[in-house]
Symmetry: C2
């Protein structure tokens, strides 16, 4: 699975304060003396990761198809475990038995006078030996589609998101009883069949338009890295915005004896059949459509005029599945902490692929293994982490973050007590550093990034990301609302908020464990995502073939692990958190104003009869849906809770030097508390209609999927016109922020 770029945040951070912090010689959470020791160990560590080993890891793990339950995935699990053991880690495999349907029948046919039967096949690529290894390949499908066999007219719905259905409606088109064809992109794939079903469609086809990752972006396979006409994007359509993991065991681990939902009762499994196709198969289908020409923004790169449809010919869509239970095999490796073993740092990357998955996820897993080997080597040299490290190779991420979720749900009580941090990565590529996550961690991540050398420019990865933000465009990760000039003045580059799409989701959204997601990329393009063509051969020809950024990734995540594991005081910064939260509040106020203005403008336009004046009698359009105007909310309590958090953060900051000089025993108790500080930012009840999602600041958007919504309870209620609910949610967020303020204040006071 792949994380998409996180939603933008607003930060109005005082640069002065940060400038002071960065001018302090000691590392955050360390004394001058312990800083120096730490820096020596980190330096030794960073000399250890080897590109060749990472490349070899990649070739080994991605040598054969290795999806959930496949023979090679079992071999990989055992190999990964044995590697950890050989490096001196404790390691074991934890197995969860989960619902993992695989295709039985897949049919898409255009009927009528010029019939076409979709190939639904990814033939071997000339030159790429891996693609010949077809016996164990899963064919192209969307896991957690419903079984179905339907024949119906076809309608093109662009990305299949809410605004697209509004456009269809204004053009007088309903998808009721139709099969919807949507293109990939614009939002998370699972939303497409979900919304199609809600709109009354009986089936859904998702295709990869060449505009998005085919010849519209660059030369296609085998000449170039982009998707050819056969390439199919597999992927889960389980509604992970509601809950992640096994669709049958929300909130609990899929262990023997766990209470399971019936398949038909799982709310995250789709209600209509859905299949993904390549653009070779899409062309005859889209060419068959009549009706009005679509708006310019709906056009892809196929050499046709795109129409809404339907055409005269119907489409037959059949998809049936073997609804089997398969094993998910997480490899869990542990290095016990020397002083505070009950404070845990969890580090993970998945290792299941849709097919060979050389890029997704093995490019990241290969680097993670080298990071773990290097830490093992460092431990042999005498380094001892104060806190316990738990390194995980997650299985079953692709179907729905299953390995990480089932493990985290199974161990929820322990994690709640012990976990200070979860560090995630997924695929890793050549280019720019990108990080997102909990804002209490922004300072330490920035500090680490300043210490890592970019292999291409020989400056720090921080400097390079700063350059990208200053220049805009390629490689620039989300800059949380700060203007370009601010980027230059600020001591930190803001973290983007994270929603879902990779294994951090359960840790942050469900358990409220401070989490970050790290990676590199932005230089090499590829169109092999979730296809049979994501192989080691592809990496050799079009990817980071020398694993240039493998060691960099290992150095970055490993240094962060060490920094947090070794610090005298856990290196959280609540000042940045506060400023970020204040930015969210400001954004909400602006959102309300914008919605009020838009509703007023629409009302004026209606009152003035402008829609009638604009109308082309030869192409009548329905009136737009009437926009509602949100009320003016009272932000006093919410803003007061932010002010309390601000005060607490300042007190914590002032008390920090004192904390560092406490006795180890006193620090142990303090850190044990501190590790849990992110938990206060959750609500036990969870979000409305999705109780599994408990964090009050970050959640996957119901209509974005991967993309984060910040203060999601309030924001989504306002956006969707549930104005009373927004008010209730404001109370919940206010309470969480007051709890967090009191908690941080308590820790600060205890250190006096």
């Amino acid at each position: 699975m792949r994380r998409t770029v996180a939603v933008a945040l607003t930060l109005g951070l005082s640069s002065l304060l940060l400038a002071q912090e960065t001018s302090t010689p000691a590392l955050l959470g360390f004394s001058a003396a312990t800083s120096s020791t730490e820096q020596q160990w980190e330096k030794k560590f960073r000399a250890l990761p080897e590109a060749k080993r990472i490349h070899d890891n990649m070739e080994h793990l991605a040598a054969h198809p290795h999806h959930v339950g496949s023979p090679y995935q079992r071999k990989n699990a055992e190999w990964v475990m044995s590697q950890y053991k050989s490096w001196g880690w404790d390691a074991h495999i934890e197995q969860f038995d989960v619902l993992f349907p695989t295709p039985k029948e897949r049919v898409i046919e255009l009927l009528g006078p010029t019939p076409y039967k979709a190939k639904l096949d990814e033939p071997p690529l000339p030159g790429d030996p891996y693609t010949k290894d077809r016996a164990d390949q899963l064919p192209g499908y969307n896991i957690y589609s419903a079984d179905g066999d339907v024949t119906a007219p076809l309608i093109y719905a662009n990305f299949g998101l809410p605004a697209d259905y509004e456009e269809l409606r204004r053009n007088g088109i309903s998808v009721k009883g139709a099969i919807v064809i949507t293109r990939y992109g614009g939002g998370w794939r699972g939303l497409k069949p979900k919304l199609a079903y809600e709109q009354g469609a009986v089936g859904c086809i998702i295709y990869s338009d060449p505009l998005d990752d085919g010849y519209g972006k660059g030369d296609v396979l085998p000449k170039g890295p982009m998707r050819n006409a056969d390439g199919i994007q597999r992927g889960s359509v389980s509604d992970t915005t509601m809950f992640a993991g096994d669709p049958l065991t929300p909130g609990i681990g899929s262990v023997p004896g766990a209470k399971r939902l019936k398949i038909e009762d799982s709310p995250v499994i789709m209600k209509i059949p859905v299949l993904p196709i390549g653009y070779g198969d899409a062309l005859p289908l889209l060419s068959s459509l009549d009706g009005r020409v679509v708006p310019a923004a709906w056009r892809g790169a196929l050499p046709i005029t795109y129409h809404f449809g339907p055409g005269t010919a119907k489409v037959h869509l059949k998809a049936t599945f073997n609804w089997d239970t398969r094993p998910v095999l997480d490899v869990i490796a542990t290095m016990k902490g020397s002083e505070e073993p009950d404070v845990w740092i969890v580090r993970g990357n998945h290792y299941d692929g849709w097919v060979n998955g050389a890029d997704d996820p093995i490019s990241g897993q290969a680097a993670l293994l080298e990071e773990a080997r290097s830490l093992g080597e460092l431990a042999k040299q005498g380094w001892k982490p104060k806190r316990t490290l738990i390194y995980a190779a997650w299985d079953g991420e692709e179907p729905g973050l299953i390995g990480s979720t089932e493990w985290a749900e199974t161990h929820a009580d322990e994690l709640n007590k012990h976990a200070a941090l979860y560090i995630n990565s997924d695929e890793n590529n050549r280019g720019f550093f990108n990080a997102g996550g909990s804002h209490a961690l922004e300072q330490v991540i920035n500090d680490v990034a300043k210490d890592i050398t970019d292999p291409e420019t020989k400056t720090s990865i921080w400097k390079r990301q700063q350059a990208a933000r200053l220049m805009g465009g390629r490689g620039a990760a989300t800059e949380g609302g700060a203007s370009r000039a601010d980027v230059l003045k600020r001591a930190t580059l803001s973290l983007g908020a994270i929603g879902s799409g990779s294994d951090f989701a359960t840790f942050i959204d469900h358990l409220g464990i401070a989490s970050v997601n790290l990676g590199f990329g932005g230089e090499d393009s590829s169109g092999t995502y979730h296809s049979a063509y994501d192989t080691p051969w592809f990496i050799e020809h079009f990817g980071d073939k020398d694993a240039l950024y493998g060691p960099t990734m290992a150095q970055t995540a490993g240094t962060l692990v060490m920094r947090v594991a070794d610090a005298d005081v856990l290196p959280y910064d609540f000042t940045i958190l506060t400023e970020t939260v204040r930015g969210y509040s400001t954004e909400l106020k602006a959102l309300i104003k914008t919605m009020q203005r838009d509703a007023a403008t629409q009302k004026r336009n209606m009152d003035l009869g402008l829609y009638a004046l604009m109308a082309d009698p030869q192409k009548p359009m329905e009136l737009p849906v009437t926009l509602t105007s949100p009320p003016d909310y009272d932000f006093t309590a919410l803003d007061a809770s932010i002010a309390s958090l601000d005060k607490a953060a300042t007190h914590f900051h002032e008390a920090e030097a004192g904390m560092i000089t406490l006795t180890p025993e006193a620090r142990k108790s303090l850190n044990a508390h501190l590790a849990l500080s992110e938990r206060k930012l959750t609500s036990e009840a969870g979000l409305p209609r999705r109780p599994w999602v408990k964090h009050v600041l970050y959640a996957p958007g119901v209509y974005t999927g991967y993309g984060a919504k910040t203060m999601p309870g309030i924001r989504e209620a306002i956006e969707e016109g549930r104005y009373d609910e927004a008010k209730q949610q404001m109370t919940i967020v206010t309470k969480a922020l007051n709890d967090e303020a009191a908690y941080v204040e308590g820790i600060a006071s205890s250190a006096k």
Copy 2:
């Protein structure tokens, strides 16, 4: 030829003042009593135009190919003249003999292992009988290309505009010695071969990408109205930004005995061969290109990855021409004024097409003829225009505004003394009213537009255009910088500035005659522009087949003609002119600030080494061209001249009621002066390097072609880094504005 949308203007007009004006019952320039008479005549006039006659005019004029010098164009000229005579007008044909090259040989071949010979042909369209009439068709070519026969590597240069060559350079690509292939769009076609030559290219191919008016926009011929793979856009590449008309007689009429340049000495004829092609012929050429993939904005809708090139195969381009002299036949019809015959109102639309030209220009010419017939009819009923009407059917517009230019240059002395107004139209389509031109005319045009009923919505064409501006998007003509809210408050919809691209250019740019350009459109799409497929059959199937907007156009232009011809005092409004000019000054100040900021940002980026930090070692990019920072200019004198004009405008406005009550003789003298007021806005020396262009407020942009540059002497000098020249030009504009102020002040005083 087609006018493209004019450049945006800023107007900060006092809505109060205008509200007073519009609440005055009398028409601008009329007394209460004469207003009433005028309104009765106008009402009678507007009942006369008949759609059927306009449709018949179209079918007659576009029945056969009728380019300059063709047999049918001669017939059309005589028919138009006879029509005028039958309606009671004086009419005659004026002939000019001009350089009109036609193709001798046209070859484009891709050489190498998979050769391709371009068809360069527009075969008859199944169903369209007109397209079978091929004997008199001119094939696809760009008139005023050089003769040439070159074989060279091919490079794709997007639109072929300056920023595109900067992109090529940054990617390490030079077009020196190459043939450049550019797509239509982004700027005037003549710039493409001109810039290619300046960059060292030896030939130029211009193609119609399907994204721009082919299947990327809608269904193609014969199923839909958009350009099919064969359709070729003909068109002039004469550098009309320098001067319009016969390339051999700048500034003088092409009459017998006129001094002509040698062909090789004409600065407006291209120095390299250039040919236009359809996308069927473009596909093999573009497919042959290698090298880097182009930026996303360069991509068209062909089903390939677009590369910069070159490829391994070279291209052979041969274009030779018969450099003949051909007759241009303007039909000039006159209705003499009853009281002030020496004040002229000139009204024109061209009637030469590239092939059948049913839309361009006949849709406009057909309506103009009905307007003239209706005025003739009105005269029979007893209406007498105070001032002289000159109605023109221009020939030779397509090759370079030749008919209008040669006529205007020939009659320059008389026009200078007599012309109060030139009203232009070109093709006319279904939809929204659009007007651009001299801002002293904004009020009267708005007044007229409020009196014309839109045939589709039954409100005024003014209301409908206002709706389009308020809603944005489709049908909205340039709103001169006014925000949406202002549009609702203001009593006038601002006029866009006009540059070139239709027959108004010589009148306004060269002679300083107040000019406007009128038309309707925005509802029907078409891809037949300048192709053999722009026929009556096309109009019947995809255009305004009932000529719904023909009578509307006749009513609009005819009412404007009557309003200006009949007014007691010529209906100019210098207040709006002043506010518009003040807006230009504000824009220049903002332009300077933007350029200063951009230069500073670039310097910062250079100093910080950000380009190196952004660099992908696998795809090195050259540094961007260093931006220069314009100095701070002293606007005191310019702004003082605007203040003087403001004062004069107010005085004129205050004196207006008194002017209306002057004796007819006194008014005659006053109007004779007033008619010339736009002339003061010219400079005798003309613009730097293009002395033919004399207006100081409006000119076709050297790098936009059709699009206007406002205060062009100053603006282009700043944009192109000629900072001293900008200062000199500021003096020239200041002088013109002071002259205008003094002139208007003089007229206002004389009326006291």
